[in-house]
């Protein structure tokens, strides 16, 4: 049989998918063991036991000073900022993106601005945001919105524009107003796309969150990672990175689930 026609079985698919993870894990363990054999105090690639001890310290031991469980307070602080930033971005994207996609007048007025703003590197604006909005939560949420919203807006506007003209004309012949067309023809088709857009923007959103927390904060996942960086505490940084990744994966899966539940019709299109 030609290679191009060979399919993995269900078990084979699982094994092949797990293989790179296992290889990466083994490479880490080997590297860590080598470095630790040379210098038992090495901090760059800590052994599994020190990683486990650090997880225990951060997640299951109350902090000596505040009595809080640091990992959970950090997670709550970060997720609150991330949720606020993504939520605001989604609302903005829906309003502006629909308007720009649906109404030629709004498109003429908004599209150039949005295209321009979406090209501004958000991290370059960070010092400005801190001075204008202060070091508190506002500037961190604003950074996420500035980074994520323009891309979502453009994406939604393009999706709305790509709706076949015939559908709009058909609705018009059925005497639908602009408002009704927006509500019943365009919204059901762009809303699933909004969820997909959010899924794709999870990575950048985390990036902006961590960058903002690194500069000024008193809690948060990025704050903690950058704080312990001073002490080369890879035993804390690695679990935090893994935890952030896991959170992002879970949010991605959660959004996919929401999409399927709320917009089952979008799946028909996808299966085809």
């Amino acid at each position: 049989m030609r290679w191009i026609n060979r399919q993995p079985g269900p078990g084979g698919r699982l094994a092949l998918g797990a293989l790179p993870f296992v290889l990466l894990g083994l490479a880490y363990l080997a590297g860590s063991a080598l470095r630790l054999a040379e210098d038992p105090n090495d901090k760059l690639l800590p052994a599994l036991t020190s990683l486990a001890a650090a997880v225990d310290l951060m997640a299951f031991t109350p902090d000596r000073r505040t009595g809080e469980y640091l990992l959970w307070t950090d997670t709550a602080a970060s997720l609150l900022r991330l949720g606020a930033g993504l939520g605001l971005s989604a609302v903005l994207a829906l309003a502006v993106g629909m308007a720009a996609g649906l109404l030629p007048l709004a498109r003429a007025a908004l599209a150039p601005l949005v295209a321009f703003v979406s090209m501004v590197p958000p991290l370059a604006l960070l010092p400005v945001l801190f001075i204008l909005l202060g070091l508190g939560e506002t500037s961190k949420i604003a950074l996420i919105v500035i980074g994520v919203a323009p891309i979502l807006i453009r994406d939604l506007a393009m999706t709305a524009q790509a709706i076949p003209r015939e559908q709009i004309v058909k609705a018009e012949t059925l005497s639908a107003s602009t408002w009704l067309i927006g509500l019943h023809v365009v919204l059901p088709q762009v809303a699933p796309r909004l969820i997909d857009g959010l899924r794709l923007q999870l990575g950048p959103a985390f990036l902006f969150l961590i960058a903002a927390e690194a500069i000024s904060a008193d809690s948060g996942l990025g704050y903690r990672s950058f704080l312990v960086r001073r002490y080369l505490s890879m035993d804390i940084i690695f679990p935090y990175v893994a935890w952030i990744t896991l959170l992002a994966v879970l949010m991605d899966l959660g959004l996919a689930l929401i999409r399927r539940r709320l917009f089952p019709w979008a799946e028909l299109e996808r299966a085809r």
Partner: protein
Amino acid sequence: MTQFNDYVESINQYTAGAHDAVTLTNMDGLSIPAAGGVDTTAVIVGDFSAGNDAVILKDGATLADIRGRNVNLVEYSVSHYLLARALDSVGMTERDVTVVNTADPDMVGAFQTPDVTAMVTWNPMVQEIVGLPGATIVFDSAMIPGEIIDLMVANTQVLADNPDFGRALAGIWYETVGIMASDTPGGAAARAAMGAASGTDQAGFEAQLAATKLFADPAEAVGFVTSPDLGTTMDRVRGFLFDKGLLGSGAPSADVIGIELPGGAVLGDAGNVKLRFTDTWMKLAADGAL
């Protein structure tokens, strides 16, 4: 020699073994390389801060007004130590304030935002911030003289393997400091260059020097490092670091890392000496024997 724009990164590079020597404070020397297992020797005691680090309040006249405020500072830095000492001096603890970690390049901008009302930082930022409306210095390092010390440290093993390395470091150091402190056109040019490199100018740099007890004369440095006060200071510093969990998460007490003082006395675990103070090279410099 490599110049880093990021202080912490320079220390991390040293701790990871990429460089053999680095300049840092006595506190960071203990908490980063020494706690990281790198046996480190202080070749030169350059100076101590006598006003370069300060607690600044907005609309507050005395240190007691800090109670209940958010305090912006670089967490776990000498600023944090200064705050702890300041609070201690008026019978407060860190529980009476909320510490907000803030990156040092953003301090000046941050002080101008309305929600920042208390800050601990160092020069050249302090000079700029005190010029802003409402800013008052309520505590500074001149009130704890000799506790925030700038060191030139090197890897103990490398020093032992290359006896000339320590001599070279000391020689270059005192030659440079001599030029920098001299009242000549060459000295003025050096101060202007140093000022520009630290984001201020010659006048700003000279103001910093005035707030620094610089040991331009190696004999003075020998006197400082061999005085019993150094042991007291390092004992305070290690107590602070242990309290913050910075001597390693498994450290059972502040004694876990040994600190050797000139003369051979050891503070803490004599079997795990990772930070060594010595007058060897400064003495050679003082005797003109480099």
